[in-house]
Subunit: 416 residues, 2 copies
């Protein structure tokens, strides 16, 4: 019908724009590589025999191509209304007849604003190495317009209660302000979660691409459902993101010719947070972040300094075998915080940590608590490319699990 | 009346926020100086005996404080509507009764988006030294949402014709698309005009501060007029800008402890362009840019390579007298483009260029064509601080002239 056409044309245009954005990214990255290297944005790839110097923070380029694509796309979904405005120079149509969808337009602009802020912030982090308090404080500020638009346009802070709990809590619970805290925390989580599951060639861009494709599939499935407009909105952002990230991955894949930088992780995180918040599927989004959540939970003892945490927790490269090994850290059990000791023993009992005695009797050596090291513990020493593939296959399986939970398990607790 | 209170309260809050922003900037800049220097954002001050190293691109800090101030301020002008939305959880009020001013909100967000884009772009230029084509191409893209909002919310592309020409052109002329080209060009002009009237301690921040205060005064005068809302909107942005720029000037003033960087020039330019476009006074804005326009016109022969243009055109420091002298460039008349020769002879006849023979008979030496060198030609060798003051006094007189043109001369050509 008419509605379907009005939805489908902009989406088709968006897909074409995204394809062009893919090729533009492919072309732009090599042309900026030297500019970045000369300006000091260069990192050493520690996972290679010859330790090559590689351009850093190249997520700026895919991010900028994304921004340009979105800016050029903004008029497209509103073309019909803009044309009516254009024919209205004699003011024969009333405001109601034109009926410009200001609420949709403002959602669009606000989403772009959030992305732009985080891109800026990420680049500032790459260029300046921001302090932790700035990294947590600034994204929180950047979500204010987003949450305000959510408040103005929907302000739905009600969550449906699972069937099994309804005799206690009723059919639904209004979380009110707490829901806004959740959405703010989601943004901070997304922007940092990808950043800490990182460090081997192709992993950041690869995982983000898989998450983006999964969420886009979810939106395509829901396109026939009740939240059609939210899904279309989400796809407007995800398709150009997929295009530019695929272009970036082409150069970030093993052996990396570019590194993506903090910029890319911030940029990716905010894209997911924005589409999920304004698309009303923030809880579902978390299902697609299972590996990142596992990595975060597993990292907690080190991130919050219950166990000693070295500056870098990357796997250790062995030039003799050309393979990656677990990186380790040393600790003394009796010098740990009681909570840290508890965590350590818990992980040890579950065999989730590899422990060997080191030197004298009291000193222990255990692997750094990252998902990458956990994979190396299970797989043994592994070639970098194979390790990235293993982690990305895990990401794909997590997405399949997410779809299963969303469409099958949900039936057990909700009436869907 | 009620309207006046609804206007005045948010403005008062804005003024308080801006005052806080001033103090935050004062505190933030020293705390980030070392981070910037360590990350390689450092420049050498060539106008001092000991050539000290100074933190560069610190406009990022005043720009970020500005952004944070604006983000925290966004809810304030809409507080009354937001409160009504809050009381409306039972959906007893209809959409019309709440009447959320989406068109104002979207103008606000779009303006912030443009500022954020240019801040990002300016920082990228400071960090990466962008190529000229990128510097012109990217700001053009960044104005798309701004122009689209202008199109949707007002689309007034009609200009009133001066009395003396009305028998030819009629009372008003609709410039249509041309007006959008003008507004786009205005943005690119503003962002670059401040950047090329720069290079001595305190000049960039000083001139921008004077322009901002002048435009704010203009808005305060017009606050009682027909375009009250546009003026309020403009002041929302100008007051925090004045606060943060005053904080920055404190450290950029002679002897500079920080340089402002391209970031600051881009940031300032876009602020002026945005408030003028959305505030419907883009022609008046140009009146406050008289020194920048003179500098641009005077620079044209070198900027467009009709005369030889060295990479830096800063005045030359003389360590013996501790004063600044004109910087010069060498040229051979018969090797110039005919148009360049014409321009050169024209300036020479008007005594706007200082020419001395250099070495053999054909070679000439003339001052670089910048307003700073023109001032040095008139004043003779001058101490840096005195030179900045002279240029800023000229900026103040230009503002007085602007007010005179706007409120007295305009009577001769328009019925005001
Ligand atoms: Mg960093
Ligand atoms: Mg530069």
């Amino acid at each position: 019908g008419a509605l379907a056409v009005k939805t489908m044309w902009p989406l088709l245009w968006n897909a074409i724009y995204s394809l062009v954005a893919f090729f533009v990214t492919l072309k732009a990255i090599p042309s900026f590589m030297n500019i970045f290297m000369q300006a000091g944005f260069a990192g050493v790839d520690m996972g290679k025999k010859d330790r090559p110097k590689v351009a850093e923070a190249m997520g700026v380029i895919s991010g900028c191509v994304f921004m340009i694509t979105i800016f050029l796309f903004i008029p497209v979904p509103f073309a019909w209304h803009l044309a009516r405005l254009g024919y209205n120079e004699d003011h024969s149509l009333t405001k109601e007849q034109i009926d410009f969808p200001h609420h949709e337009f403002v959602e669009f602009i606000t989403a772009v604003l959030s992305v732009c802020c985080m891109l800026f912030l990420g680049f500032a982090d790459d260029a300046l190495n921001l302090r932790w308090r700035d990294k947590l404080f600034l994204p929180t500020i950047a979500t204010i317009p987003l949450l305000m638009v959510y408040y103005v346009n929907s302000n739905s802070t009600t969550v449906i209660v699972p069937k099994q709990l309804r005799h206690l809590l009723g059919f639904s619970v209004n979380l009110g302000g707490l829901y806004y805290v959740f959405m703010g925390a989601l943004t901070v989580f997304c922007t940092n979660a990808i950043n800490i599951l990182a460090g081997i060639n192709g992993l950041e861009a690869g995982q983000s691409l898989i998450i983006a494709i999964s969420v886009a599939l979810f939106n395509l499935i829901e396109l026939t459902g009740a939240y059609r407009e939210s899904c279309v909105f989400s796809l407007y952002f995800l398709l150009p993101y997929i295009g530019t990230t695929a272009g970036l991955l082409r150069y970030n894949w093993f052996p990396s010719r570019v590194f993506v930088g903090d910029t890319f992780c911030y940029f990716s995180g905010v894209i997911f947070a924005v589409v999920a918040i304004l698309g009303h599927f923030s809880k579902t989004l978390l299902l697609f972040f299972i590996p990142q959540i596992i990595n975060f939970l597993y990292s907690i003892p080190q991130l919050f300094k219950f166990l000693p945490c070295p500056r870098h927790r990357l796997p250790r490269y062995d030039p003799d075998t050309d393979k990656l090994n677990m990186s380790t850290t040393k600790l003394k059990l009796n010098q740990l915080h009681p909570l840290g000791r508890l965590m350590f023993q818990f992980l040890r009992v579950l065999r989730l940590v590899h422990v060997v005695p080191s030197g004298d009797g009291e000193m222990l050596e255990c692997n750094n608590l990252t998902l990458i090291n956990l994979f190396l513990m299970i797989l043994g020493p592994t070639h970098e490319k194979r390790l990235t593939c293993a982690l990305l296959i895990f990401q794909v399986f997590s997405s399949l699990l997410a779809f299963f939970i969303r469409y099958q398990l949900a039936k057990l607790v909700y009436d869907v």
